[in-house]
């Protein structure tokens, strides 16, 4: 039977709460992400490749 996606809760620091309030006007204590969303956000670098041109003489 399919299970609910695992949720990761990240508590915000006071500074982050202020930033969120300033940018969105909303109050929040924490953000919640699924494991997949978290992995996508912490993945280092871009997810696309670069077609670097390499000159050959």
């Amino acid at each position: 039977m399919p299970t609910q996606p695992e949720i990761v809760r990240i508590e915000l620091t006071p500074q982050q709460k202020d930033q969120l309030k300033a940018k969105t006007g909303r109050d929040a204590e924490a953000i919640e992400l699924t494991v997949t969303e978290l992995e996508e956000r912490i993945a280092p670098g871009r997810t696309w490749n670069h077609n670097d041109t390499f000159l050959v003489d």
């Binding site: 399919p2 299970t3 996606p5 494991v35 997949t36 992995e39 996508e40 993945a43 280092p44 670098g45 871009r46 997810t47 696309w48 490749n49 670069h50 077609n51 670097d52 041109t53 390499f54 000159l55 050959v56 003489d57």
Partner: protein, 261 residues
């Protein structure tokens, strides 16, 4: 992180583990597995394992196209990367429709201007390789304009676009403009990736060619040699880029000897 540092074998090992973990998840999360496969494809491309990269991307695409929900953001990225594999393999005509499809899907999504710009720069490289210089130049210039809005966040994309546009100008014989763009790309890559990264060497190789064409043989040989050393250290002596760069260096040394003092 390992890939960004240029530690490609370590990155490959970790990404293979990520794929296995995603495959074992119950229930299977198709998007998560596709993301892991995309990561593996990226590092396999860096290591010139083009068939493995292509297979990873194709599998990711099939997963995303069959998964419930909308995954067009990732589907656009996979098409972008499939085009990139054909670019790296020298199959430019095969890469063009893939890159164009990725760009079309991303544009239809709206929103992420930087991702659209990255698709444009990737397509530009494929067009440039097919001598379609005018469209390629326009795409590079437009993409650069988008990336430059947030230069710190987009340093990597700015560097690759400068490298591509500089190489395009070099082919056209606009050597002064090419040198300025490539010099900036080298600085940017050294700042963001460190001086011993393979991407730095790619641009040094191109800059070496521009120096040579401008008749600056001593500077050209030094620049080529620096590129060869970095490529040998990061990608290995048998990697196609290392071999090509060594050939460029050898030709430059030979031509420098033949050039009038």
């Amino acid at each position: 992180m390992h890939r960004r540092r240029g530690d490609y074998p370590q990155a490959e090992q970790l990404l293979r583990q990520a794929v296995v973990l995603a495959e074992q998840a119950d229930p299977l999360d198709a998007r998560r597995l596709a993301v892991a496969l995309n990561g593996l494809g990226l590092v396999c491309k860096d290591l010139a394992k083009h068939n493995e990269a292509r297979a990873a991307y194709r599998r990711a695409l099939a997963l995303l196209e069959q998964a419930p929900g909308s995954h067009d953001d990732w589907i656009a990225t996979i098409y972008h990367n499939l085009g990139g594999i054909e670019h790296a393999s020298g199959n430019y005509a095969q890469g063009e429709p893939l890159a164009r499809r990725g760009l079309a899907i991303r544009r239809a999504l709206g929103g992420d201007a930087e991702a659209v710009a990255a698709d444009m720069a990737a397509l530009a490289a494929i067009l440039d390789a097919q001598q379609q210089h005018d469209e390629a130049e326009q795409l590079y210039v437009d993409a650069l304009q988008v990336f430059e809005r947030e230069p710190q966040a987009n340093a990597g994309d700015i560097a690759v676009t400068l490298n591509g546009l500089g190489a395009l100008y070099a082919k056209r014989g606009a050597l002064e403009e090419a040198e300025a763009l490539l010099t900036r790309a080298v600085s940017l890559r050294e700042e963001t990736l460190g001086p011993r990264h393979a991407d730095v060497a790619v641009t040094l190789n191109n800059l070496g060619m521009v120096y040579k064409r401008r008749g600056h043989y001593e500077r050209a040989t030094t620049t080529y040699l620096a590129a060869v050393e970095i490529l040998e250290q990061t990608l290995g002596a048998q990697h196609p880029k290392t071999i090509a760069c060594r050939m460029n260096y050898a030709r430059c040394v030979a031509d420098a000897g033949a050039a009038p003092a």
